[in-house]
């Protein structure tokens, strides 16, 4: 019996050492606080290049809501009552992103009551997808002390989103993060395309065309994680948007950096994306259909 126990324990030690030293995906086995270790390892075959695709927050997508033609429309946001309808994890995670975008939208338009309401629904949903720890005492206190001051509404809603992102990255919940980013992007664009009337060369229309760059980053990020069936499913749902963005004409320009007097590196973008009225209407229709499919709302 003693011999058996010794054997089992020895195997467990070897097993645990093997797990912590050989998992190429693990970001956690680098000493205290992820810091500074040097060791000799077996020369195993691994890709020499690792790529990360970064996706901006909904707040950045709403960055041009100062455009006077864009107004607040409460019919465009997902009603908070819908939160009870999301049973499966995929819909909970997608709609977490959708509500996070709605939160950024109501905060940007200084809607104090709605901001508190949407912060509550985001907190409620965070418990259901296992990230309730994000809402620690300090964040909860900040939410409770919210005033109708525009800056504090935006700052608290943005900080909440960043805290969620940081938490998910720390816990390596990559699929959850990808679905939240997808929900956030689709809702932000759904709101913007439905607030915008087509006008060639307008700031808003150009920003919608430029979302092609963000969308392809999002698609690459999802494709990196497509072994997850939920992500595979979402990739298929997003395919019609991909087709539309692929059709947009890209005017290539010579790209070269120059440094201005303030020592900024001014980058002459290599391409300008243009969108026609037909393409815009097609995009608007497709985005609305996919978004309403995610939220379970009927197509208006």
């Amino acid at each position: 019996m003693k011999k058996n126990t010794f054997f089992i324990i020895t195997m467990l030690i070897i097993g645990s050492l093997w797990i912590t030293s050989c998992d190429p995906k693990s970001t956690n086995n680098n000493g205290e606080d992820g810091e500074d270790t040097t060791k000799t390892t077996n020369n195993v075959e691994e890709s020499d290049v690792e790529t990360f695709y970064l996706v901006p927050s909904p707040k950045d997508i709403f960055g041009f809501t100062d455009d006077k033609s864009l107004v607040f429309n409460s019919e465009l946001i997902n009603p908070t009552e819908n939160v009870e309808n999301y049973i499966d994890n995929k819909r909970k995670q997608l709609n977490f992103g959708i509500y996070a975008a709605d939160l950024a939208y109501v905060a940007a338009y200084e809607k104090g009551n709605e901001t508190v309401k949407y912060l509550d629904v985001v907190r409620n949903l965070s418990n259901k997808i296992g990230i309730g720890d994000v809402f620690n005492e300090s964040l909860t206190k900040r939410i409770q002390n919210l005033t109708s001051n525009k800056d504090s509404l935006i700052v608290v809603s943005t900080d909440t989103y960043f805290d969620v992102i940081r938490y998910l990255e720390k816990k390596e919940k990559i699929s959850t993060l990808a679905l939240i980013a997808t929900g956030g992007w689709i809702e932000s664009l759904y709101i913007v395309v439905n607030l915008t009337t087509f006008e060639e060369r307008s700031k808003s229309i150009q920003a919608i065309a430029d979302q092609k760059i963000v969308f392809f980053n999002l698609m690459m990020y999802l494709e990196q994680n497509q072994s997850d069936p939920n992500i595979q499913d979402v990739l298929e749902q997003l395919a019609p948007i991909k087709s539309i963005y692929e059709e947009l004409e890209v005017v290539n320009m010579e790209s070269h950096p120059k440094t201005d007097d303030n020592e900024k590196i001014v980058i002459g973008g290599s391409a300008k994306i243009s969108i026609s009225e037909d393409q815009f209407n097609k995009l608007k229709q497709t985005i609305s259909k996919i978004r309403n499919n995610f939220t379970g709302n009927s197509v208006p």
Partner: protein
């Protein structure tokens, strides 16, 4: 027999708990930098766990409506031996290429502003050391690729099967601000 079982459970806990705590360590809490006046935090900031001998690419969509503050941090285990390149993701045009540390230049200055990505430089106006940063202002929305190459550590000669590797964290810090209107 009961005592033996208890000992077995205790030993199991001793073996399993340390390995779980190793999994719980991460890069997430490193280099907390608050946005400076006029700049805002973004979700584009990324911390990654990195290893020598590998290249890390960060594909970042930059909007023409913002200016971006770009700064890098890396664990001391890498000794600033890294290369940082910023290029256009669509055509590979290079905008910036700097080492982690430049060292002392011919004129005696150490890591002058803009020459390196990690080593601080002395700012004559502010009279203090400043961590390097770059301000990027895109004329059009653009997808940029930040490439961080971490070379191999030189191992002992003749060892082909095993190589010396070093692990640590790298942070790509990105703040933004709306472009000033002309």
């Amino acid at each position: 027999m009961k005592k033996l079982k208890l000992k077995f459970v205790l030993l199991l806990l001793i073996v399993i708990l340390p390995s779980l705590s190793l999994f719980a360590q991460d890069c997430g809490s490193k280099w907390k930098v608050q946005p400076f006046s006029g700049w805002e935090a973004t979700s584009l900031t990324k911390i990654a766990s990195c290893t020598t001998g590998k290249t890390y690419e960060f594909v970042v969509p930059f909007s023409d409506q913002y200016e971006y503050y770009l700064s890098f941090y890396a664990s001391s285990s890498f000794n600033n031996r890294m290369n940082f390149t910023l290029e256009d993701a669509s055509n590979g045009s290079e905008y910036l290429s700097v080492p982690g540390e430049m060292g002392i230049m011919d004129d005696g200055s150490e890591n002058p502003k803009g020459s390196s990505a990690l080593a601080s430089y002395y700012d004559e106006k502010l009279k203090k050391d400043i961590h390097p940063f770059f301000i990027i202002s895109p004329d059009n929305s653009v997808s940029l690729k930040i490439i961080i190459e971490i070379p191999d550590i030189d191992g002992e000669e003749g060892k082909v099967v095993n190589k010396l590797t070093s692990k640590g964290c790298v942070k790509v810090l990105i703040f933004e601000r709306e472009k000033p209107t002309n």
